[in-house]
C-alpha cells in the first residue's frame, strides 16, 4: 500500500512538473531582436537569424511551438514539407538538448534557439521571449 502511495505521488509529481518546467522556457540569442521575429524565423519566413530546433519528440519543443508559434507539431510538419519541397526554405538544424543549444548560440552571434531552463541563461545572452 505504501509503495502504491509513493508511486502515486511520484506519478502526480511528474505530471505536474512538466508544465511547471515548461513555463521556464526561454528563447535566447546574442543578438537583440523583436519577439515578433521568433515565429517568422521558426516558420521559415525570415532569415535574419539562424534558428535551431530541439528534436521533434521533445516536450520543450512542443511547448515552444504551441505557445509561441500557435501551431501543433503536425501542422508545422505540413508547413515545412511545403517549404522544403518547393525550395522556399531549408529546415532548421536540430540539436539534442539545452546544453547543445546554449553552446550553439554562444558560438554563433547570428544564432537563435530555445531552452527549457531560464536559470541556465548567462549574461552574454538576451532573452527574446519566454514560454
Amino acid at each position: 500500500m505504501k509503495k502504491l502511495v509513493v508511486l502515486l505521488i511520484l506519478v502526480t509529481a511528474s505530471i505536474f512538473s512538466v508544465p511547471a518546467s515548461a513555463q521556464n522556457g526561454v528563447v535566447v540569442s546574442q543578438t537583440e531582436i523583436d519577439d515578433a521575429s521568433v515565429p517568422r524565423i521558426y516558420l521559415g519566413q525570415s532569415r535574419v537569424l539562424n534558428g535551431v530546433n530541439l528534436p521533434e519528440d521533445s516536450a520543450v519543443r512542443k511547448a515552444f511551438e504551441e505557445k509561441l508559434l500557435g501551431q501543433s507539431g503536425e501542422q508545422l510538419k505540413r508547413h515545412w514539407a511545403k517549404l522544403k519541397f518547393t525550395g522556399r526554405a531549408t529546415p532548421l538544424n536540430e540539436l539534442n538538448g539545452d546544453d547543445a543549444v546554449l553552446e550553439y548560440v554562444l558560438n554563433n552571434p547570428q544564432g537563435i534557439g530555445y531552452i527549457s531552463d531560464k536559470s541556465k541563461v548567462t549574461d552574454k545572452l538576451n532573452i527574446i521571449a519566454t514560454f
Partner: protein, 379 residues
C-alpha cells in the same frame, strides 16, 4: 523519355561528382502518395479513373537531394516516379538557388510554374488537406517551366509580402482535346505572383503571359488542310493554337486558424485566335480539424466559352462545319464538382485520406462519382 533518363543520370552525376566535403552536406528527403480509386458507375470516368479499382493515376514517389555549394548557393533535384507514367523515373525539378540577400533568392533551372496557390507543392499531397487539388481549377496541362524565378519576402507591419517574378519557356507533352499527346510550347513566358499573409489569412494574385503559345493538336491536321482547300484559311488559322498570345490570371485566399479553414481560388485563361476556349475556373473549400482527424468539403466549377464563335468559326461547307463544331465542343468544359473528404493522421509525417467526388458535366449531362483513398507521406 530518353531525355528524362539522361537528365536523371546527369543530375545524379552532378550530385555525386561534388567534392567530398560538399557530398557530406547533401540532404536527402522525399515524399510519396499511394492512391487508389474507382468510379461507382460502370460507365463513369473521372480524373483518369474508371469503374475498375486503379492505383496508377495518382500514385507517385519522389526523392529530393539538396547540396550546399556555398553559404549562398545550393543545388536541388527532385526525382519522381509516377504511376501514370508507368513509374518511369523523371526529373521533376532541378535548379540552382542563389541567396542574394536575407530576403531575396534567385532560382534557375527546371522549376514549377506557380499558377495556383498550391502549384509549388502540387505533388506533395501531405502539404494540403485535399486528396488531390480541385481539378476544376488545377487543370492547366503543364506544371513546369525552364527559366528563372526571383523570390522576395518583405515584412510590413503585421503583413508578410511574398513576391515571385518568373521568366522562361514551357515545353511539354500534354493531353489536350483528343487522346493523343500534343506538344505544348510556350515561349517568352513572363509573370508574377504575390501573396500577402496577415496572421491566419493568405491572399494571393497571379498573372502570366506569353506572346507565343503553341499547342499542336495532331487530330485536326487534316481538318486544317481541308479548310484551307475550300478557302476558309482564316477559320483554319483561328482554330490553330500557333504563335498565339496567351494570358493567365488568378486570385485566391486561404484562411486557416488551425481549428477550421476556408479558401477559394478563381482563375481565367485565354489563348487568343485559337481553338482553346476562354477558361474560367473556381472552387471554394472549407474544413474543420479535430484532434487527429479532419473533415472538409469543396465545390468547384469550370465555365468555358468560345469567344465570338459564330464570327470566327463559320465555314461555308456544312460537313466541315460539323467537324469544326465537334472539335470546339470537345475542348469546352462546363462542369461542377463537389467533394467531401476525411483525413486521419496515422503517424508523424503520414496521413490517410478518403474522398468522394461527384462531377456533373453540363454539356453532356453526364454525372460521375469517384471514390478514392490515399496514404500521403513525407520523410
Amino acid at each position: 523519355m530518353k531525355y528524362y533518363l539522361s537528365a536523371c543520370i546527369g543530375a545524379a552525376a552532378l550530385l555525386t561528382g561534388l567534392p567530398s566535403q560538399a557530398q557530406d552536406k547533401i540532404k536527402w528527403s522525399g515524399f510519396g502518395n499511394i492512391a487508389a480509386g474507382m468510379t461507382t458507375g460502370s460507365d463513369d470516368q473521372l480524373f483518369g479513373y474508371d469503374n475498375d479499382l486503379d492505383f496508377n493515376p495518382e500514385t507517385l514517389f519522389a526523392l529530393q537531394a539538396k547540396a550546399n555549394l556555398s553559404d549562398k548557393l545550393t543545388v536541388t533535384t527532385q526525382l519522381m516516379s509516377r504511376g501514370s507514367d508507368d513509374f518511369d523515373l523523371g526529373v521533376e525539378w532541378a535548379y540552382l538557388q542563389y541567396q542574394l540577400t536575407d530576403s531575396t533568392s534567385v532560382n534557375m533551372g527546371k522549376l514549377r510554374l506557380p499558377l495556383y496557390i498550391y502549384s509549388d507543392s502540387l505533388d506533395v499531397g501531405y502539404s494540403y488537406h485535399w486528396l488531390r487539388t480541385p481539378q476544376s481549377v488545377y487543370r492547366v496541362a503543364f506544371d513546369n517551366y525552364t527559366g528563372v524565378s526571383v523570390q522576395h519576402n518583405a515584412f510590413v507591419g503585421d503583413f508578410i509580402f511574398n513576391t515571385q517574378v518568373i521568366a522562361g519557356t514551357v515545353k511539354d507533352d500534354v493531353e489536350a482535346g483528343g487522346s493523343e499527346l500534343s506538344q505544348a510550347e510556350l515561349n517568352n513566358l513572363i509573370g508574377f505572383n504575390a501573396s500577402a499573409i496577415y496572421n491566419n489569412l493568405t491572399m494571393r494574385i497571379a498573372y502570366y503571359q506569353t506572346n507565343d503559345t503553341n499547342v499542336h493538336l495532331q487530330e485536326i491536321d487534316t481538318l486544317l488542310t481541308s479548310l484551307e482547300q475550300i478557302g476558309a484559311g482564316d477559320v483554319a488559322s483561328e482554330l490553330e493554337a500557333s504563335e498565339d498570345k496567351g494570358s493567365f490570371a488568378g486570385v485566391g485566399f486561404m484562411y486557416d486558424n488551425f481549428n477550421w479553414f476556408v479558401g477559394a481560388e478563381y482563375t481565367q485563361l485565354e489563348v487568343e485566335n485559337s481553338y482553346i476556349p476562354k477558361q474560367r475556373s473556381s472552387y471554394i473549400t472549407a474544413g474543420k480539424r479535430f484532434e487527429n482527424w479532419s473533415l472538409h468539403a469543396t465545390l468547384g466549377q469550370t465555365d468555358d466559352e468560345i469567344v465570338d464563335a459564330e464570327q470566327r468559326f463559320t465555314v461555308p461547307a456544312p460537313q466541315l462545319q460539323n467537324i469544326v463544331n465537334q472539335v470546339l465542343g470537345g475542348v469546352v468544359n462546363e462542369a461542377t464538382y463537389s467533394s467531401v473528404g476525411v483525413n486521419f493522421n496515422v503517424a508523424p509525417g503520414a496521413v490517410f485520406k478518403f474522398d468522394v467526388t461527384h462531377s456533373d458535366d453540363k454539356r453532356t449531362d453526364a454525372s460521375d462519382v469517384l471514390v478514392s483513398a490515399a496514404v500521403q507521406f513525407v520523410f
